[in-house]
């Protein structure tokens, strides 16, 4: 639509309306609000996409075993620095490392350490991520890289698996240690 009230929504506008109607230019939004033809087109596109999702969900087999957390599954303790903002926590941590370094060696701070670099294993997993998640890849790095290369060689990455492939390997699922032994 280029002129106020004159034209129906073009394809771009239509898609924008489906993604987030608030992102439409005000005049376009105004048109959409009053033009039943455009609203109908939006609803059809939206409905088609939504029904795609509905069908996909309908074709998922039911979960046959409910998730169980084994009694022995330990929680990772929250770091005492956790409630602090990452920058503050990292700075404090860096200071602690520096002080410890001076104390231990009687010299200046370790090269390459400090608030900006941090100490892997201490800072990375708990303090620097807004949304921390466990990176527990059981593969050695070399295999991970190999797997990535193989994945990249395919036309469209790991999301190829969005749809079940007939050639998929069998029995490759990871058996999480003790997950079922409730």
């Amino acid at each position: 639509m280029t002129k106020k009230g004159s034209y129906h929504l073009n394809q771009d506008d239509l898609v924008t309306a489906v993604v987030d109607e608030e992102d439409l230019a005000e005049e376009v939004r105004g048109h959409l609000a009053t033009c039943s033809a455009c609203r109908k087109r939006k609803e059809i596109l939206e409905g088609t996409l939504t029904s795609l999702g509905h069908t996909a969900r309908a074709y998922v087999p039911a979960l046959t075993k409910t998730v169980r957390i084994p009694v022995g599954a330990g929680r990772r303790a929250r770091s005492f620095l956790f409630p602090l903002r990452p920058a503050v926590a990292t700075a404090l941590g860096g200071l602690a490392v520096a002080v410890f370094g001076w104390w231990l060696l009687g010299t200046g701070p370790f090269p390459g350490t400090g608030p900006d670099h941090g100490t892997p294993g201490i800072w990375e997993d708990a303090l620097t991520e807004e949304v921390a998640w466990p990176a527990e890849d059981p593969l050695p790095a070399v295999y991970r890289d190999m797997a990535d290369i193989l994945t990249e060689e395919r036309s469209s990455g790991f999301m190829d698996f969005v749809a079940p492939l007939p050639e998929e390997g069998q029995g490759i699922s990871e058996q999480g240690g003790g997950i079922r032994s409730c």
């Binding site: 987030d20 939206e46 979960l63 593969l139 036309s155 469209s156 698996f161 969005v162 079940p164 990871e174």
Partner: protein, 207 residues
Amino acid sequence: MKQEPQPTITPERGREASAWIAPAALAVRGDDKAFARLVEIFQEEIHRMVYFRTGSAMDAEDITQEVFLKAFRHIGRLKDPRHLRGWLYRIALNSVRDHHRRRRVRMLFEKSARRRREEAPVGQGAPAAGVEQILLRREFWDRIRGLMDRLSRLEKEVFMLRFFDELKIREISIVLKRSESTVKTHLHRAIKKLAGEHELFERTEGS
């Protein structure tokens, strides 16, 4: 008079944050019962999400177990309980990626991976389905595969999280660690690509 914009996606079941924010806050503080409640709320949708990306009922169940075990171990580090859903999806997405990495590596060492039909789960977890149902399902997934092949990796992921997994834009931005505007841009591109080459626009143009 301006019409109220209709929600793009209608959430199914009890997906409103009000159903899980309170247990999420308790679980973060170490309440195991609250975590069990979260499992009840989210296990089916996480399982479904994983199934979309593995196509295997058995693998999806194993990975779902793995996702919640990881979540249980690490939930104490979740800063904002309101991010729980995105956080779970993020763990799930990483677990799926790890699964495919392992699968690739295993295939390196297994000269002939046994072929499997998508319907293999029938009788092993999937509800009994007739031949017609199986064909319908296969036809559907073939169609989806054809559509998804037109998208970049990020476009696919955003599209699936939005329409298959029914996440909100804000939640997708948490899962993928991208800004909301980046998510919208990729979603826009994905829909346009799909609609441009598909009958979606034809249908909308014809009305």
